[in-house]
Every structure is written in structure tokens, then in C-alpha cells.
């Protein structure tokens, strides 16, 4: 006997209706399943019904001038192998490559990553520095919400019952970088991760850190310290100090608070250098 009933709607409307109909019963939306299935198996998520998004026409990648819209069910591997994405959002490429291996990335999706809101998400820090906007679709139509507002905490978002992530929109190409420290260099959860991006139109730096609970966060103090444009050595030093001070880091089995704070500074320094090297 199956632990849940799988529903496979053909349209967004049907999907939303299916989610709403089962809302009281325990329901989950299934994209790639690489995270959800583990939680279902271990009982961290209980759902009598699982709504598969596989038939929805959301495996898309659309450019509109400088704006990139990534369909929520697009496999990460497709994003990774797209040369324009890599060129326009190098930090996003770094982050996607940090998620499992190709066999996982063939199924894992951007929408799933955001909707599941894992504290250790490799995509979220970069997407925060890119000012990502999440496009949601529900019974009452669509709405857009800034990623920073969308994420609440570990496994918590502002997604309403019966709502789905339709897409993620990145407003402009940005030189960017994503660096992490892990006990094992590959295939591990980051002890801490730092994303940096520079907006050439707004002349602003953006800094986010990940691998911290309850969710990756922007560190505006560090971004501010970097100023607008090519930062001086002194500005980088101040930014490094700011990230060390303001990063909401705690100790867990992956490392002590002291070490992770130290790493945040080191990685910020390097991420800025990498980003600068990627200036056009």
C-alpha cells in the first residue's frame, strides 16, 4: 500500500485545485523529489496526497532583455549547461554545480529548492545577491515576491496553502561568485558559504551567507562596506569584518561558531576577488 496518493495534474489550475482540495489532509507538491522524498520516507513530512508538477509546462528558460525567468520545474542540470546563464550569472553556475552530482541535478529543480527552504541550500545565497523574485501562482492568480521575503526559516516560506512557485526571475546579469567551505571539498553540506554579486546598473554590492540556520541571509552591512564599484583593500577589510560580526552563525556538528565566523570573512574576501575577476 502506498503511503500517499500521487496526483498528476496537467495544468496549473488543476494543480492548484488539487493542492487546495487536499490542504486539510496533508499534501505536498512534488517537483524533482530529491529532497521531498527523503523527508516523506523519514516521516519529517507527512502527506496523504502528493501533487506531481511534472506535466506542467514550466521547464523553461526565458530571456527578456537582461531579465532571466527560470521556470520552477526546470532541472538544475539544464540551467548549468546553458552557456548564457553561465556567462550572465557565474555565481549561480557555481552554486548549481555545488548541488549533488549530475544525476541529482537532472531531477532537482530551482522551484523545489526554494519551496523546500533548506538552511543548507546552495542556491538561495546566490539568488539573494541577484535580487531574485519568486513568481507564485494560486487560486487568485499570480503574485511576485522578493526571495528574501519569500523565505521565512528552515523549511518555512510564505507560500500560502494551494500556492505554487511558477518561476524565479532574475532582473539583470551580474558578475557574481559563490564560495563555500566543507569538511570534505566535494559532495558535502557547507560549513559556511558566501555569495557576492555586483550590480553594474545600480552600482551596488550584494553579499549573502548560507549554511547558517534557519535560512541563508543577506548581510547588508558587508555589502555596504564594499561601497559602489571596485572596492579598495580597506573596504574589503571592513566588509570582511562586517560579515564576521553580523553573520548569524551558530555551532553545530559541522563546525564551531568561532571557526565559521572566521571562514565567513575569509570566503567573503575571496568571493569579492572572484567577482571582480568576472567583471566584463
Amino acid at each position: 500500500m502506498s503511503a500517499f496518493e500521487l496526483i498528476v495534474p496537467a495544468t496549473a489550475e488543476e494543480a492548484v485545485a488539487a493542492l487546495r482540495a487536499a490542504a486539510g489532509d496533508g499534501v505536498a507538491a512534488l517537483a524533482g523529489g530529491t529532497d521531498l522524498l527523503l523527508d516523506l520516507e523519514d516521516g519529517r513530512v507527512t502527506a496523504r496526497r502528493v501533487v506531481s508538477l511534472r506535466r506542467l509546462p514550466w521547464r523553461t528558460l526565458d530571456w527578456n532583455g537582461p531579465t532571466l525567468t527560470i521556470g520552477s520545474t526546470l532541472p538544475l542540470r539544464r540551467l548549468e549547461l546553458d552557456p548564457e546563464v553561465r556567462a550572465g550569472f557565474p555565481g549561480l553556475y557555481d552554486a548549481v554545480r555545488a548541488v549533488g552530482g549530475p544525476a541529482l541535478r537532472h531531477r532537482a529543480t530551482v522551484g523545489g529548492n526554494l519551496g523546500r527552504s533548506a538552511p543548507a541550500s546552495d542556491l538561495v545565497p546566490v539568488l539573494l545577491t541577484l535580487d531574485a523574485e519568486v513568481e507564485l501562482i494560486g487560486a487568485h492568480g499570480s503574485r511576485g515576491v522578493a526571495l528574501d521575503r519569500f523565505l521565512v526559516g528552515s523549511r518555512r516560506t510564505t507560500l500560502a496553502a494551494g500556492e505554487l512557485i511558477r518561476a524565479v526571475r532574475l532582473p539583470e546579469r551580474r558578475p557574481s561568485a559563490y564560495l563555500w567551505q566543507r569538511v570534505r571539498p566535494s559532495n558535502d553540506i557547507s560549513q559556511i558559504a558566501v555569495a557576492t554579486a555586483y550590480s553594474p546598473t545600480r552600482r551596488t554590492w550584494h553579499v549573502a551567507i548560507g549554511g547558517v540556520a534557519p535560512r541563508p541571509v543577506l548581510v547588508p552591512e558587508a555589502a555596504g562596506a564594499l561601497g559602489g564599484g571596485r572596492p579598495t583593500d580597506d573596504a574589503v577589510r571592513r566588509a570582511r569584518e562586517a560579515v564576521r560580526r553580523h553573520a548569524p552563525v551558530t555551532a553545530d556538528k559541522r563546525g564551531s561558531e568561532e571557526y565559521r565566523r572566521h571562514l565567513a570573512g575569509v570566503l567573503l574576501d575571496r568571493a569579492v576577488a572572484t567577482t571582480l575577476a568576472r567583471f566584463a
Binding site: S2, G33, L38, S52, G101, L104, R107, S186
Partner: protein, 158 residues
């Protein structure tokens, strides 16, 4: 009862499956319904790569994939991988390099590398291929022979 039929093509043969529970993993369907036990069960949490199969040519962790989610797809397992010209080269490269010991991770490596080489051809440098295979774990060989096989398989591509 949340069980229904699934149509798959497995290693080129139509393989209709009846009464498949909705929560069944592709790994279990392959091993226990179709008897294709070459696909190995290791960690079952997506961290070892031993269960890798190709779904419409793309390497996929069968332990983290619902059978119903690949309805209509063409699945290739280690038993069928050498029917593919790239897969045959990969297998020969592993044999020549002696890139196996206990053999438990071997099907996952063969399938994963076949998928990568079909996807990227020679476009990907060896270092990138090795990085991409870092999600397939091996405890016996120390990977040195596997790395030699990867390099050799890439060289052998038509």
C-alpha cells in the same frame, strides 16, 4: 489503493508494470519487479550513486525517483548500457583499466559516465568529468583506476 500501472521502456524493451504503488521508487521497480538487480541499492538517500540509471538518456538516482514520475520514459540500466555505443566504450575502458574491485559501485559508475559522455561528449574536460563523478562513491579502488578509465573512455569517443 494508490497503485496503478506504469509504462516504461527498459533497456529497449517495453516493460509495462501493473499495480505499482504511487510511492514506489524506480530502484525497487527495476530490482524486484523486473529482476534487474545490476542497479545496486547502497545508501538509498542519494549520496552514493550506486543506483544510477539513465532516464531518457539522463543519469538519474533511481532511489530518489518515483516510478510513476518516469511514466513513458526510456530507462537504461547497467544490463543494457553496453548496447549503447558510448556505454560499450565505457565498459571496455573500465575493464582495461581494472577499475573495479568488489564491483558494487561499478554499475553506477558505468551508467553515470555513459550519461555524462552522451550529454557532453568531448566538450567536457576530464577534470570536469571527474568532478561530476564525485557523487558516485567507491570504497575499494581509491578511484585511481576509475580516473584512468574515465580518461580512456573519453578518448575512445567517436
Amino acid at each position: 489503493m494508490s497503485a496503478s500501472s506504469v509504462r516504461l521502456t527498459v533497456n529497449g524493451a517495453p516493460s509495462p508494470l501493473a499495480e505499482v504503488p504511487h510511492d514506489e521508487r524506480l530502484l525497487d521497480s527495476l530490482r524486484w519487479r523486473l529482476g534487474l538487480k545490476g542497479t545496486k541499492e547502497g545508501c538509498r538517500t542519494g549520496n552514493c550513486g550506486a543506483c544510477t540509471v539513465l532516464v531518457d538518456g539522463a543519469s538519474t538516482l533511481s532511489c530518489l525517483t518515483l516510478t510513476h514520475e518516469v511514466e513513458g520514459a526510456a530507462v537504461t540500466t547497467v544490463e543494457g548500457v553496453a548496447d549503447d555505443p558510448v556505454g560499450a566504450r565505457v565498459r571496455a575502458a573500465f575493464a582495461d583499466a581494472g577499475a573495479l574491485q568488489c564491483g558494487y559501485c561499478t554499475p553506477g559508475f558505468l551508467v553515470a559516465l555513459t550519461g555524462l559522455l552522451r550529454e557532453e561528449g568531448r566538450a567536457a574536460p576530464v577534470e570536469e568529468l571527474l568532478e561530476e563523478l564525485a557523487s558516485n562513491l567507491c570504497r575499494c579502488t581509491g578511484y585511481s583506476a576509475i580516473a584512468r578509465a574515465v580518461k580512456d573512455a573519453r578518448e575512445r569517443l567517436p
